[in-house]
C-alpha cells in the first residue's frame, strides 16, 4: 500500500490547489526566480525497554509547511506550523525578501500532479498497529540477549517507527506527494567478565511498515549485540601509526561517506571550498573504482522517491572508472553548473531549506576475494564496525571511529582491536585504494548524517578494500 493520491494529500493538509498558487505567488512577489512549498505531517512513536521490561512509550507529532524563495543562488526561507492560507502567505512574503526587487512577476503557475516510482511500498502501516504488537518483539529481543551469554548484566532495546506525509509543489508547476515510513530497532547490552565491563550494540533501519519486525530480525540483532560485546573483552588497542587498513565489506562505506561523499556535495564545490572543487572530470583513483550515490534501493534507510525539491530519485555515479564523474546536486548547484539536478536536494524537515545530501553511498564490487586482500598485508588492521565519522571539507582530512576490528599479521586476522580512531586525507586515501573486493555489502544500520545542523537518514556500503596507508590510533 501507500499510494497516496495528491488529492488525498491536499485534503490531509486542508489546502486547495488555488491556495498553493497564491502562496507560491506571494513567495515570488519580490522577484525571486523560483519558489517551493514543502508540507509535512510526521508522527514518530518509540517504545523502549530497560531493566528487563518494556516500560517507556513516547510519541511526537510535527506538522507544518516550509516556504522557500530562490533568487540566483540566494535563499529565503520561512515556515509555519499550520496550513492556514493567511499564515502561509505571511511566511511566503518573509521568504520573498531574499530577492532585491519590488517588481511583481506576471507569472501564471499551473500545478500538475507528478507521480514517482515508489521505492518503499509497505504492507502494514504503523498507524494500524497498537503498542502491544510492537512490545512483543522488544521483549523477545531483550530475553534473547540474556539467553545468549551469562555475562550479560544489562540490556536496553528501543523500537522507533515514523510515518511522514509530505506534499511538495513549486513554481515550475510540480505537485507531488509522498508517504515516507521509517522503522528502526536498536539493542545494546553490557556484560561483566570478572572486574571488566564492556558495552556493545547493534541496530537495523529500513523504510518499512510493521512487517519490519520479525523473529529473524530479533535473532540477528541479539546475536550481533552479544557477539559485539563479547569481542570487546578480547580486544586490545593496536600499536598506532601509519599502516595499511583493510576495510571490511558493509559499514566501511563510512570511508566513502567521510573521505569523499561530503566533499562531492556540490554546494561546497560551488563555493570553491571543497578539496575536490577543481577535480570534476579528472582521474582521482584507480580505473577499477566506481562510486555511486543511490536513492533507489528499495526500503533502504537512504531511499527517496523524489528529493525534497521534487526531483526524481536516481542512481548517480560520482566516480566512474576512477574519474570524478558528478557532484551531488540540489537545484541551486545544478543551475550553477548548468547540469540537471541529481535528486540530492534533501532537508531534515519543513523547518529546513534543502541542500545537497547523500542517500545511499557505496562502491561497486571489484573481483578480488576478501581473503586475498587480507593476505596482501604483512602488518596492518582490518576494520568493520564503526560508530561515527567526520570530515573537513577544505583540508580533506576525514576520520572514523572503529568500535572493533582485528590486527592483520602476516596476511592473517589475529588479535581483535577496539576503540581506535582512524584519520586520513580524502583524495590521498581514495588514490591509495589498491585492491577492491568482490563482496559489496550495503550496511543496514541506523546511519544518520549531520550537516549544517540538519540530520538526514542515509546508507552506505563497500566491498572489502585495501587502503595502503592511513593513520591508525593506538598505543
Amino acid at each position: 500500500m501507500n499510494n497516496i493520491t495528491t488529492e488525498a494529500m491536499l485534503s490531509h493538509f486542508g489546502v486547495s490547489v488555488e491556495d498553493l498558487k497564491k502562496v507560491l505567488a506571494a513567495a515570488l512577489e519580490k522577484g525571486g526566480g523560483y519558489a517551493d512549498l514543502y508540507f509535512q505531517h510526521t508522527r514518530n512513536n518509540q517504545i523502549s525497554l530497560r531493566d528487563g521490561e518494556v516500560n517507556r512509550a513516547a510519541s511526537n507529532v510535527d506538522y507544518g509547511v516550509g516556504i522557500r524563495t530562490v533568487a540566483g543562488d540566494q535563499t529565503g526561507y520561512a515556515y509555519v506550523e499550520n496550513t492556514l492560507p493567511e499564515d502561509m502567505i505571511r511566511a511566503a512574503r518573509t521568504a520573498a525578501g531574499i530577492a532585491a526587487t519590488t517588481t511583481k512577476p506576471s507569472l501564471e503557475i499551473k500545478l500538475t500532479e507528478k507521480h514517482f516510482h515508489n521505492f518503499y511500498p509497505i504492507e502494514i502501516p504503523w498507524e494500524s498497529v497498537d503498542i502491544l504488537r510492537k512490545k512483543e518483539y522488544v521483549q523477545k529481543l531483550n530475553d534473547r540477549i540474556f539467553e545468549l551469554d551469562k555475562r550479560v548484566i544489562k540490556a536496553t532495546v528501543a523500537l522507533s517507527d515514523t510515518t511522514s506525509y509530505t506534499m511538495f509543489c513549486n513554481s515550475e508547476g510540480i505537485l507531488a506527494s509522498d508517504y515516507r515510513p521509517m522503522a528502526l530497532m536498536h539493542a545494546s547490552c553490557t556484560m561483566q567478565d570478572g572486574t571488566k565491563i564492556e558495552n556493545g550494540y547493534s541496530s537495523r533501519a529500513f523504510r518499512l511498515g510493521f512487517e519490519f519486525l520479525s523473529d529473524e530480525l530479533v535473532e540477528t540483532l541479539a546475536q550481533e549485540t552479544v557477539a559485539q560485546t563479547a569481542l570487546m573483552f578480547k580486544a586490545v588497542k593496536p600499536k598506532g601509526g601509519e599502516m595499511p587498513v583493510v576495510m571490511g565489506a558493509g559499514g566501511s562505506g563510512i570511508l566513502l561517506h567521510e573521505a569523499i561523499g561530503h566533499a562531492f556535495e556540490a554546494d561546497f564545490n560551488r563555493k570553491g571550498v571543497s578539496i575536490f572543487s577543481d577535480k570534476l572530470g579528472k582521474q582521482i583513483c584507480d580505473t577499477s573504482i566506481n562510486v555511486v550515490d543511490d536513492g533507489t534501493i528499495e526500503h533502504a534507510r537512504g531511499a527517496i522517491n523524489y528529493d525534497d525539491e521534487g526531483v526524481e530519485s536516481q542512481k548517480t555515479y560520482i566516480v566512474k572508472d576512477g574519474i570524478l564523474n558528478s557532484y551531488l546536486h540540489d537545484r541551486i548547484s545544478a543551475k550553477h553548473y548548468d547540469v540537471a539536478p541529481t535528486g540530492n536536494g534533501r532537508r531534515q524537515s519543513f523547518r529546513h531549506a534543502p541542500m545537497p545530501r547523500m542517500r545511499v553511498t557505496y562502491m561497486e564490487s571489484g573481483n578480488i576475494p576478501e581473503e586475498e586482500i587480507i593476505a596482501q598485508v604483512k602488518q596492518g588492521v582490518y576494520v568493520d564496525n564503526f560508530t561515527n565519522g567526520q570530515v573537513q571539507i577544505g583540508a580533506g582530512d576525514f576520520t572514523f571511529f572503529v568500535k572493533t576490528g582485528y590486527l592483520i599479521e602476516n596476511g592473517r586476522l589475529t588479535q581483535p582491536i577496539k576503540d581506535i580512531n582512524v584519520i586520513g586525507n580524502g583524495p590521498r586515501a581514495l588514490a591509495d585504494i589498491t585492491l577492491v573486493g568482490n563482496n559489496l555489502k550495503i550496511d543496514e544500520g541506523t546511519w544518520t548524517c549531520g550537516k549544517e545542523g540538519q540530520s538526514m537518514p542515509v546508507g552506505q556500503g563497500l566491498p572489502s578494500v585495501l587502503v595502503s596507508k592511513l593513520i591508525v590510533g593506538g598505543e
Binding site: N60, Q74, Y77, G97, F398, N421
Partner: protein, 439 residues
C-alpha cells in the same frame, strides 16, 4: 513571550490528563522565535525567520510512564493525543520508579534575577543585522588574494517555557541569544583549502562582539596553511579554551544517573575518591547571572544550587534525577549540571604555551570518540607543533589515544582564561606524556 492562552492550554492538558486516568502529569509549553542570515563574499546568501510552539506532555498512569509532544495545538488534537497516550502507557510494564519529584525539592521562586533575556530583542531591525554581516565579511573578503570564500552568519533566538506539574510545580523561564560567526576558506599552492571559523555568542545584543570575528577566522585559517603530520610519540598536550570541553564531556556523561544505573560508566563507585590531580576543582554554579546555562530549576522542576563536582581532584557528586535515585536507592541530586566553573590557575594560554619544551597545541579535534564504559578514547586532531615555548609548524591528520582518567592524571597546569560565552567555563589545560599517532 508565553501568553495566558498558552498557559491555559498547558493547565487544561494537565486537568484533562488527570480526569482521564493519570495519577500525575507534567506539562510544558515551549515557544521560540528565530532569525538567521548568511552573507557570503558580496551578497546575502540566505535568510530564514520562524516562530514555533511545542507542547510536551508527560503522563504517569497506574505506575507507568509515557511522554508525548506535539505542535498541533487545537484542543481536539491535543486531547486525542493525551487519550491515545494514556491508552498506550497502560500497555507498558509497571515502572514504579517513574514519578514526579518530591514537591519539597521544587523551585518555588518567580524566576527573576538571572538576566537571561534581552528586552531589546524585538527592537533590533533586520537592516542592522545585515549591515553587521556586511561589515564582518568585508573585514577579510577582497583583502588577501588567498581568500576564496567568506561566509558570515548572524543568528538570534528567543525562547520561553512554561512548566506545570500536578504535585504543585509551576514556573516560567525565558531567554535570548545572539551570535555572529564567520568562516574563511583559503586557496594556496596545494589542493587543500584551509578553512576556519570564529564566533561570539551572547545573551544581550549590546554584549555581542561586532568587530574582528572574520579577521580572527582568517588568522586561524592562515595558521593551517602547510599542515602536515609529525612523528608518533609522547608529547606535552596543550588544549586551548575552545577545545578543553572535549575532554571534560566524557567525565560529565559518566557521572549521569542513567549511565551509572545501566553500568555504562567508567566512574562507578568512585564517589569520594581521587580521580583527578589535586589541581582540579570544578563547581556547578547555576545562578551565575548573564551566563548561558544559568537556571533556577532543572528539567524536572527541581531547584538548582551551587554544587561541588570535583574538589581538589576528589569526586563529590553524581547527577541523579528522581527516576535513577529510586532505581539506585540513593538520594537524588540534580538531573544535570548547569554551569561548570573550574578553579583557575595563574597563567593564560600563552603562558602555558611558553612552558612547553616538546608538545602539541591541539586547536581542533577531528572526530573520534570515548568508550563510556571504560574511558578509553581515540580522537583525530589538528594544531601546532611546539618546541621550547614557540610555535614551530602546523600539524594535522593525527590521532591522540589513551584513557580519559589516565589523561587527567597527567594534567600539569590549569589556565586562567575560560571562554565566557559558554556554559562550561573551562580554561586552557596543559598535559604531559600524551600519546600522539602520526608518522
Amino acid at each position: 513571550m508565553i501568553t495566558q492562552e498558552q498557559k491555559d492550554i498547558a493547565q487544561g492538558c494537565m486537568e484533562f490528563a488527570l480526569k482521564n486516568g493519570c495519577q500525575q502529569a507534567r506539562i510544558s509549553f515551549a515557544v521560540a522565535d528565530n532569525s538567521s542570515f548568511d552573507f557570503r563574499n558580496t551578497q546575502l546568501d540566505k535568510l530564514q525567520q520562524s516562530s514555533e510552539n511545542k507542547l510536551y506532555i508527560e503522563l504517569f498512569v497506574d505506575g507507568r510512564y509515557g511522554s508525548f509532544s506535539t505542535n498541533r495545538l487545537e484542543r481536539e488534537e491535543v486531547q486525542a493525543l493525551i487519550r491515545e497516550g494514556i491508552t498506550s502507557t497502560r500497555f507498558l510494564a509497571q515502572d514504579l520508579a517513574r514519578r514526579l519529584p518530591d514537591s519539597s525539592r521544587y523551585y518555588l521562586g518567580k524566576g527573576d534575577g538571572l538576566e537571561l533575556y534581552d528586552d531589546a530583542y524585538l527592537s533590533i531591525n533586520v537592516n542592522s543585522k545585515i549591515d553587521l554581516l556586511k561589515q564582518t565579511t568585508a573585514e577579510v573578503y577582497g583583502k588577501d588574494k588567498r581568500v576564496i570564500s567568506v561566509t558570515s552568519s548572524y543568528e538570534d533566538n528567543r525562547s520561553a517555557e512554561y512548566m506545570v506539574a500536578s504535585n504543585g510545580f509551576e514556573a516560567f523561564s525565558q531567554d535570548s541569544s545572539f551570535s555572529l560567526s564567520s568562516e574563511v576558506a583559503l586557496k594556496t599552492d596545494t589542493d587543500a583549502r584551509p578553512e576556519s571559523f570564529w564566533y561570539d555568542s551572547t545573551i544581550f545584543w549590546k554584549d555581542l562582539q561586532k568587530e574582528g570575528i572574520a579577521r580572527k577566522a582568517f588568522e586561524r585559517a592562515l595558521g593551517k596553511v602547510g599542515q602536515k603530520q609529525t612523528a608518533s610519540g609522547k608529547y606535552q598536550l596543550l588544549l586551548d579554551n575552545t577545545q578543553a570541553s572535549r575532554i571534560v564531556s566524557p567525565l560529565i556523561s559518566a557521572l549521569m544517573g542513567t549511565s551509572l544505573q545501566q553500568k555504562n560508566s567508567f566512574l562507578i563507585d568512585r564517589l569520594g575518591k581521587q580521580i583527578m590531580p589535586p589541581s582540579v576543582t570544578i563547581h556547578d554554579t547555576p545562578h551565575l547571572a548573564r551566563s548561558f546555562g544559568a537556571r533556577w530549576y532543572d528539567g524536572e522542576g527541581v531547584a538548582t544550587s551551587d554544587l561541588q563536582i570535583i574538589e581538589k581532584g576528589v569526586l563529590q557528586t553524581y547527577f541523579i534525577d528522581t527516576y535513577n535515585s529510586v532505581k539506585m536507592g540513593v538520594e537524588p541530586t540534580i538531573s544535570s549540571p548547569s554551569i561548570l566553573n573550574f578553579e583557575l590557575g595563574n597563567t593564560d594560554f600563552n603562558g602555558l604555551l611558553r612552558q612547553i619544551e616538546h608538545g602539541i597545541w591541539v586547536s581542533a579535534f577531528n572526530g573520534g570518540n570515548t568508550n563510556q564504559t571504560t574511558g578509553d578514547f581515540s580522537m583525530g586532531i589538528e594544531g601546532f607543533l611546539i618546541k621550547d615555548g614557540k610555535v614551530v609548524s602546523p600539524i594535522g591528520e593525527m590521532n591522540i589515544t589513551g584513557n580519559i582518567l589516565d589523561l587527567w592524571k597527567n594534567l600539569v597546569a590549569v589556565g586562567n582564561d575560560p571562554r565566557k560565552n559558554s556554559p562550561w567555563k573551562i580554561p586552557a589545560l596543559l598535559f604531559e606524556g600524551v600519546l600522539f599517532n602520526g608518522l
